[in-house]
Amino acid sequence: MRVRFWGVRGSLPVPGARTVRYGGNTSCVEVTSASGTRVIIDGGTGIRRLGKELMRAEFESGKGQAHILVSHTHWDHIQGLPFFAPFYREGNRLFVYARQRDDQNLRSVFASQADAPFFPVPFDHTRATVSFRELHDGARFEIDDVQVASARLNHPHIATAYALEADGARVAYIADTAPFSDILFGQEFLSGPTSRHARLGRADKATLKSMAAAVVRLCEGADLVIYDTMYTADEYRQFPHFGHSRPSDAIVVCRDAGAKILALFHHAPDRADAEVDAMLDGARAQAKTMAEKLDIVAAFEGLDLSLGRG
């Protein structure tokens, strides 16, 4: 299994000299199995360059096939999709997976991104065959030789974590999520931290506990865990209601799950390259006491990992 990072940033793309090493594109990770099954997780701006690369091979002649798993539809996870070139070539087959909505079908959510007055090419003008697969919470399914499991995350509106297994390897993608100490999903706009004021009821506590357990199960024995670690401890204290985690939250999950490598991911837009370096050093120091066998990397654009067989 090969895992390549095309976009590692959260919130919005941040071009500039301060982000050249880790990269300024928003979330996009590509996973390919040894037999050639191609799964793309999230369609932030990083997916544009992936699309260009795919167009140098079978996608150019309309013979390409890829599966796009969407964690959630906040802009930084879908804003690159209208710029994904394989959509515009007839014959390509693209499958988009995301959690089902109560109010709207998935096709209309994605199509609305290309509506006037926002984008010049309507979604109906895409030439590829695009199919949408609506997932329920905790869905498990197969994409050819890749086994996929999913779990609901603790993030405003809706977000889904995925684990992919193939070639004897497992990778988990846990973004975006806050730690499991306060309910953030399904809420109206949260203008400030809530947990210090509102005590959780028993049902909420049970929901968060089972949510945390499901995330640990997704990461069980994983060769690689890609985790939303947007915040430092100080930032998290200020913005616990924004729906993002700290490296220490990811380390705890990886420890409990016996995961091998943790990739810090979804770097904050303000985080300059040297600050990501410092965050990585801090996380490695923390892991020494918490999970000494865990390897930690900070994801960067172009990071290319081979896991399991091939």
């Binding site: 071009p15 050249v20 300024g24 594109n25 701006t45 879908i78 926002f118 837009p269």
Partner: protein, 283 residues
């Protein structure tokens, strides 16, 4: 009048080592006028850095006010809106000007970007600042302090975009983003809007060769920008809204080519520059 570029890229932000000098953020230009008024033109991702700079002053304490001129609502011109820091400080006041048919429609357009499925703040009304919408679809004149702003609809593929002429402090700035003229080039009305500008910021997304391949997109080539500058007899032309795949060296080449084109067509008195993030031009 001081003009600062915060985002100069077209279509989609293009981070990476190849775009560090000119910048990879999408469209955003700011104006600081002598009477203290602040105008922001377009709200691409460049608006985030402009917002950070404003928070160091009156906007940080909720005592700022500014006018935002939107050329149109394609993503690369509004995607910085949810990330513009001063919008989140109660007390700050903004007027957002756009070419939608009504102020209500302009509000609905911006509100769709903020919807819960796309952004956690869910509504611009949750941001904190006071934000008023104003359509210039019919009345194309806006007064901003001492400045007179005139809007003009230019063609942009199947839709239109507003070009803006801003006259203040005895100087004139014209912003003509995302414009795809027909084979006759800029209309007489467009030339009248650009006429004699001290600085014309003009869409020049492509080389002429690249534009030939992408006609349907309704954007300008370097030739179109040069043509507009010559016919309107402007003093200085700023190339702007570069294609997302153009590297810094490609843009260097675009500017050199623009210089040669102007010289060859009797425009050697017209200055030319490549708009770059962080650059301030005093008029």
């Amino acid at each position: 009048m001081e003009v600062t570029f915060w985002g100069v890229r077209g279509s989609i932000p293009s981070p990476g080592p190849a775009t560090v000098r000119y910048g990879g953020n999408t469209s955003c230009v700011s104006l600081q006028l002598a009477d203290g008024e602040i105008i922001m033109i377009d709200c691409g991702t460049g608006a985030r850095n402009f917002g950070i700079s404003l928070l160091a002053g009156a906007f940080g304490g909720g005592k700022g006010s500014a006018t935002v001129l939107l050329s149109h609502a394609h993503w690369d011109h509004i995607q910085g809106f949810p990330f513009f820091g001063p919008f989140y400080v109660p007390g700050n006041r903004f007027t957002v000007v756009g070419g939608s048919r009504s102020s209500e429609l302009l509000e609905r357009v911006l509100e769709r970007q903020m919807a819960a499925q796309f952004f956690p703040v869910q509504s611009y009304r949750n941001m904190g600042a006071q934000i008023e919408m104003r359509s210039v679809f019919e009345d194309r004149q806006v007064r901003v302090g001492q400045a007179q702003v005139t809007a003009h609809p230019n063609p942009h593929g199947p839709t239109e975009v507003m070009a803006y002429r801003i006259e203040a402090d005895g100087k004139t700035l014209v912003y003509a983003g995302d414009v795809g003229y027909d084979e006759r080039g800029p209309s007489p009305e467009a030339i009248a809007l650009y006429r004699g500008a001290d600085l014309l910021i003009h869409d020049s997304s492509f080389t002429p060769e690249d534009r030939a391949e992408r006609l349907s997109r309704g954007l300008s080539s370097l030739d179109d920008a040069v043509e507009a500058a010559l016919r309107a007899e402007v003093k200085k032309l700023a190339l702007f809204h570069y294609d997302q795949d153009y590297s810094d060296r490609d843009v260097d080449e675009l500017v050199l080519r623009g210089r040669r084109l102007l010289d060859a067509r009797g425009g050697s008195h017209i200055a030319i520059m490549g708009a770059a993030e962080g650059l301030t031009v005093a008029l």
